[in-house]
């Protein structure tokens, strides 16, 4: 059986690549601190020695569109090209190419369908920055095969937060029962409070510091019940109009396990949105050295 080597949840900030590679006058004042935090976070994945990455993210109206919108989708293909023209244009992201792990993708689809999750699939998926940002931050050599899992946090009607938690638990269980001698890291990215295209966007901090404080505590403590008691599809409008991306963090809380504290927690208060980084080691090998 496969081993879950790490569960990692993170924000995905499309400006990190440009901030971290810029020099001279173009380099923002917060870049050095941000890079230091990302490099420390990267070590938490490196230390887990993964063979395969399950990557939970959300397409931002790139390939998935309102004429045919899946709620949850697994990419099953030998190769995933990545990043799109408008991500090069706005964020300076590079075009990328990742190998797929088709056997695990097929396993997640079969087992997921049998467990009551009507997962959609794609055999030709061009992935976007929700998956490539964590590759850039956590595994910049992009040398491991991936299974992308896309969720709809973007186009209502969306599944409720409970469903994200349930799918996270299911993914954890399915990876653990995958009959392969592989070490799998389950990585998912979302947002804390975030506003896009509304009056609260691009402020000096995230739009709702109180929500962010509570959210970080829920995730760090594995407080699934506390989180579900407060977070609904309706409540997520209040912290910022793009805060439904927090449901991908909730999926990852499901994958990490109810009540399981994160072994690594870090945050960075940036303009526009707060960054947050979490790692769990299900094997208990939280060796900080």
């Amino acid at each position: 059986m496969a081993t879950v080597a790490a569960v990692i949840a993170s924000t995905h900030h499309p400006f990190y690549y440009r901030a971290s590679t810029s020099t001279g006058a173009d380099r923002p004042p917060f870049a050095d601190e941000w890079v230091a935090k990302i490099e420390a976070f990267r070590q938490t994945l490196t230390r887990a020695e993964p063979d395969v990455l399950v990557m939970v993210g959300s397409d931002h109206f790139h390939q998935l569109w309102l004429d045919n919108m899946p709620q949850f989708l697994v990419g099953k293909a030998p190769v995933f090209d990545a990043n799109w023209y408008n991500e090069e244009r706005e964020f300076g992201l590079p075009r990328m190419r990742l190998a797929g792990e088709e056997d695990l993708a097929a396993y997640l689809l079969r087992e997921g369908l049998d467990a009551g999750f009507d997962l959609a699939f794609s055999n030709e998926l061009r992935i976007d920055h929700s998956v490539t940002c964590p590759i850039i931050t956590l595994r910049p050599q992009a040398d491991l095969p991936v299974v992308p899992v896309y969720t709809n946090i973007f186009a209502p009607p969306m599944p409720r937060p409970e469903r994200f938690v349930q799918l996270g638990r299911a993914i954890r269980g399915m990876v653990e029962s995958w009959p392969a001698d592989k070490r799998v890291a389950i990585i998912g990215t979302g947002h804390l409070s975030l506003e896009l295209g509304g009056p609260r966007q691009f402020g000096p901090h995230g739009p709702d510091a109180e929500f962010d404080r509570k959210a970080v505590a829920w995730i760090a403590n594995g407080d699934v019940d506390g989180c579900l008691a407060e977070v609904t599809l309706d409540s997520l409008h209040a912290p910022g109009n793009a805060t439904h991306g927090f449901m991908d963090f909730m999926l990852m809380m499901g994958a990490a396990g109810d009540g399981v504290k994160a072994d690594y927690v870090d945050t960075l208060d940036l303009f526009h949105t707060m960054e947050a980084y979490f790692t769990w080691y299900p094997e208990g090998t939280a060796d900080p050295s």
């Binding site: 931002h60 569109w65 309102l66 004429d67 408008n86 209502p156 295209g197 009056p199 966007q201 402020g203």
Partner: protein
Amino acid sequence: MSKYLLNKFLYTVDRDPELVERYRADPAGTVAWWEREMANTVLNCTAGERSTWLAFTETERQALREHDHVTLFSLGAHPFLTLTLFIAMFERDHGPLEYQLAYAQAMNHITLPYPDIAT
């Protein structure tokens, strides 16, 4: 009201570098052409398999013609699509973050709950 069609305009223009420039330079002409030629294109189908029923309201047409992101927001267009396309068109005319902050400032009178974006 046709939130879906507003979003389809923003989506199909944003993903095409030539259309981004055309919409920036000639919004009225681009909106008229797009509604005539593209509005009823089913994106994943061949050209012959067109829809027959999609059209803008005059309010929507005018908001698109006038590059009016505040009205697009009030009509329930998807804020991510509007923001992304408008940054592509207008950020270049401003200093760092200046356009994004002005975009927000123009919406300062808008309070929760925001317009429903469900399609």
